[in-house]
Amino acid sequence: MSVPAPAQLEQILLSSSDLSSASLATRITVGRLRTEVSGDPSSLSQKVAELTEFAQSNDFAAADLANI
């Protein structure tokens, strides 16, 4: 499963949309990362890297993020 591009993951973290069709693990992870980015916008690239690693390590997460 291919992981969405960093620009797409960046948009996911900057958005506030509900990922209702995603797994609970992905929703909680994205929710936490969004809060961290909101509190420290300069951390965006670091959080995108963390989300990328999460998706690379877990096919279900890659699928969740690709289907957003």
Partner: protein
Amino acid sequence: MKNEFLTVAEASARIAAGDVMTVAGDADLLTQLPAGKWIGGTSVYFVTETGGAVVRDKVFCTTFEDVADAEVRQQDAGSLKDIAGGYKAGGFTVVLIPAFSKTHTTFAEDAPSMGALFSQPLVGWISGVHLDELGTAKPLVFNGANASAVEDGAVCLHIALPAGAKVNTDIVNIFDQGHNAGTTFTFQEKGFAATTAVVEGREVNFAEYLTENNIDTRLPLVANYAGARVNVSVQAVDTDNGSVAFYAPVMPGVEYQLAAPVTDYAGTFAANLGDSGVGQYSCNCILNYLYGELEGKSTGTFTGPVTFGEIAYILLNQTLVKLDIQAA
């Protein structure tokens, strides 16, 4: 998966026969069980098919049938990251932690940032005691591998499923955010207690604010994690020292909204759960049991322990956690 109340003798026989189980019950019963592939936790409150009930003469057993492998492991507060080290490919893990322990606090505060825990379903609950015995009885969990009681630690049942089987976990939260600016809060620090909160751009003493505005603290604070509604429940409001205690930690920067009121707890649960509970693993919160006055009221077909906190990757409050396995 099979959910049922068993006598100690019946549960012991199942364990001796090699069944893979999670067990919930009174400490006096759990201490009688033999070593085997099980984990347990103290709880005397249950959601049964006929409604909420206190049960002290039997243990509630969930038997995971047709598993490919199972292993019991134990971690302490300092090694919670290693829970993921026991994950089995394509499987899931059940974790039980005693209430009020250091492990409970550490898991609650740190699990959201432990990325490896999220790589497969992790469910479980916080063990408790009868509310009349708060302060006198100790919540315990049990490591079935050596049939020992644990006052502070996390016991994990790691399960591998046959190829092609699927497992899914989710939460059922009957509460929605209230969407009222006057009851929307953020906190500056992570923790099980807070003295201040920010509401409508003002920093306020949280205890005074809740009291002066007659806010119903039986309603949880609801955060929205990308569509997953995660509750934090208020434990106590102390206006003398100006602090509010929670049953789960608030997180800095997260927006919490007081939940909209729910008038019919049991009915709302039943409506949200449908009739798919038979054969699923689930646990529900003691606060739902109390505030919803669920004793004797049916909430549908989901049965399981009523707990001092639910776990679906992270610690939850006032929530039902469910896990479903679909055979190959």
